[in-house]
Amino acid sequence: MSVTRTGALPVGADAAYDVVVVGAGVVGSAIARTLARHPLRIALVEASNDVGDGTSKANTAILHTGFDAAPGTLEARLVREGHRLLSAYARETGIPVEPLGALLVAWDEGQRAALPRLAEKAERNGHRTTRLLTAAELRAREPHLGPGGLGALEVPGEAVICPWTTTLAYATQAVRSGVDLHLNCSVEQVRPGDPYHRLVTRRGVLRTRHLVNACGLHADAFDALVGREDFVVTPRRGQLLVFDKFARDLVRHILLPVPGPLGKGVLITPTVYGNVMLGPTAEDLDDKTATGTTAEGLAGLREQGGRILPALLDEEVTAVYAGLRAATGQEDYRIAAHPGLRYVTVGGIRSTGLTASLAVAEHVRGLLADCGLDPGPERPLARLRMPNLGEAFSRPYRDARLIAGNPEFGAIVCHCERVTEGEIRAALTSTIPPGGLDGLRRRTRARGGRCQGHHCGAEVRALFEEYGPEKKGRGAR
């Protein structure tokens, strides 16, 4: 078990793996964790300097039930199973989840007429607890809603989750259970072979018997490296606005739009950090690095959000960002085994990858067996308890026993998010320490609040640099 960020990769016999998973997003990390149950030599390889640094960090952070999936698809099945698996895993490992339930709000007659059809679809997907709400019931549930709500479909079970902790939990448990994690290690060439494929990376060559493509947006490009051209990933950009915590009391459920002929509309949802999120846009692009926001996108979101929840616009915006979903022009995942190549492609995991991740991983384990992998006996994974980032659960700055044991948990460094020095030091010395300040924010929330570092930026950076490579290069401070 090791985590590497720089330097040459291990060579010789050490560098021969049974399975290499390429891509340490939520899906790749989940696959590595699931495989780590077996006595296999596994590497998780990632181009970025951190896990969960692509689409997995910039999404709507919803644990879906799959009520509106296309019935009969692989996605529908894996989302349904994934919801159950991840809900249980979150309880076990301390990933914050709040099962708020969703309301699909109808704003015109066409949308209201669509609600019963959505309820039937949910039933075909195995969700029998949806309920139609009248305008009066809707108003009672969401008193701050703008005028004109005609009714809603209630979907119990839809939940909000911390996407950062989820990916980090999978990867951490994988590493603690023996997986090698190689960061800053983009794969540039694949030389298929028998018994070993050779992966040429920026940091040297890796050999592996089996190969898993979990490259998300770049799954098509990686397929091309092994000579497959089965689909094209079109990035679909979703811009999002996060509002300050004062907005949290304005909304109680996940407010979903009713899909219609005029597009999908935007959602408004609380986050587990106690903020409110508005978005996403849906823009089909060519550029897989276009994670910037635009003036038109943000203005459009504010206009739509202001109709749904007028008071929201009075609150400060704490973050604007955009994520890219991996659309492939097919209303289902693109998961395929290529037994001749001992290779599994996990592509087209669109908006539901976070929810489905654990079920996708189980599915891939089966596909690898179809490719000839004999995983051997199962053993328990390393135990794991993640630091809590959720507002609905106990946080260190309010924990008298924790502070009595270590006063650093009583020293708040990031005031907006109430992040203590103890939490920051714990993250910086954890199994997978952050590669930068953004990674530290995803592990602790430090610098993620309304001031965006105005007050705490220098202090947080000083802590980071105490442990960072710069410290070693510079000598003692």
Partner: protein
């Protein structure tokens, strides 16, 4: 741990320390100041420039020296000043929950003075589109970085753009240049005098439309008043001014805010809507100099002492709002004790005619002898509100310009 004090001051900046010093010296009993930062003194601690008054010998003080003096004065007067201690929320009326390295506390006070200050709006709150690279700062973060690390390229870059035309933008320019960073331009939405920033080019009437760069900032796109666009090459951008009060505790207690400032509404004696809770300094609106904030802290002491003596809490007050080109006016409430109005305009107004009306009835109409600028407040003396009916409706301050 539960404790009781006479006065709890939240925030050891200029306003909070001045209030604490005056109160402790006036026999208010046990006066305790909580400061969440590791050292007391507030924003002046980071402002290494003159402009903070003078010492006893008449020598000009810079920010850090001013901050040290303010802390010393509060301590000498008998106040307790505790740094690294955070008030995290209310446990009840006049009772705050506190987190410190020494543990959790619940502190009950006979009077609470909120002096939590203000912050500059960061890029996100200004809804500036584009990528999310490193190298995006506020003046506050810039100054703290320099104080903490000195001039380090990896933090400050080599070439910076400063956004905003307030006096604080000059602080940002000065800090950057002293650190050896070239300042490519000052970009300000309101028109700014060309020579306000010395040799640095000033783009007035210009807005930032996008941040560019992956990993590290590589430029900012701007649009001028004439619609022309350009991209300024830089690896650091500093967003300055555009203050928003740090009003978390005020809002957590449900204190009404003044719409224009987003600070808690107070009467002229700094009383908020809740008996026993006062608010002073830049929590009321942000952006005023330390000496102004400190004067408010001192001025609030009289009403705090009244409260400690058991005098009744005057309820209500008539709300005051700004209209037209006036951005905000404080205090938000007019009570029985007359107080000067402090006023800020959205744009430059030359010798404007200001009006005060109540329930649609004009009370006063007067031409100012000077001009209003968006980066400077103006104080209207007591006579401006002398005719206000304290049982009447809201008072509106407007401009005929």
């Amino acid at each position: 741990m539960n404790r009781t004090v006479d006065v709890l001051v939240v925030g050891a900046g200029p306003a909070g320390l001045a209030a604490a010093a005056r109160l402790a010296a006036s026999g208010a009993g046990r006066v305790e100041v909580l400061e969440r930062e590791r050292a007391a003194g507030g924003v002046p601690r980071h402002c290494a420039r003159p402009g903070f008054g003078a010492d006893a010998r008449g020598l000009p003080l810079d920010g850090p020296a001013y901050a040290r003096r303010a802390v010393r004065a509060a301590l000498r007067a008998g106040a307790t000043v505790r740094a690294g201690v955070s008030a995290t929320g209310w446990a009840g009326p006049l009772t705050l929950d506190v987190t410190a390295p020494s543990g959790l506390e619940r502190i009950r006070a006979r009077a609470v003075v909120l002096a939590t200050g203000a912050r500059e709006r960061p890029r996100s709150a200004r809804l500036v589109p584009g990528s999310r690279p490193a190298g995006v700062l506020t003046t506050g973060e810039l100054q703290r970085l320099v104080l903490r690390f000195g001039a380090r390229r990896e933090h400050l870059g080599r070439r910076a753009v400063v956004v905003g035309g307030d006096p604080v933008a000059r602080d940002a320019v000065r800090t950057l240049r002293r650190a050896g960073v070239e300042v490519a331009a000052v970009v300000a939405e309101p028109p700014v005098g060309r020579h306000a920033f010395g040799a640095v080019p000033v783009l007035g009437g210009t807005v930032v439309t996008e941040l560019v760069g992956r990993g590290r900032l590589t430029g900012v796109a701007v649009r001028g008043g004439d619609g022309r666009t350009a991209t300024l090459r830089c690896d650091t951008v500093v967003f300055t001014g555009d203050w928003i009060p740090d009003h978390e505790l005020a809002r957590a207690r449900g204190l009404p805010l003044v719409p224009g400032t987003r600070g808690p509404a107070t009467d002229g004696s700094f009383r908020t809507a809740e008996p026993g809770i006062f608010a002073v300094g830049n929590l009321l609106r942000g952006g005023e100099p330390a000496l102004v904030a400190a004067a408010e802290g001192r001025a609030a002491a009289a009403a705090v002492l009244d409260r400690l003596d058991g005098r009744p809490w005057p309820g209500g007050g008539v709300p005051v709002t700004a209209s037209g080109p006036l951005r905000w006016v404080t205090p938000g409430l007019l009570g029985p004790v007359a107080a000067p109005l402090i006023l800020r305009a959205d744009r430059r107004l030359v010798r404007p005619v200001l009006t005060v009306t109540q329930d649609g009835v004009p009370l006063r109409r007067e031409r100012l002898s000077g001009s209003l600028a968006p980066w400077r407040s103006v104080r209207l003396p007591l006579h401006w509100t002398s005719g206000v009916d304290l049982t009447g409706g809201p008072v509106v301050v407007g401009s005929e310009d």
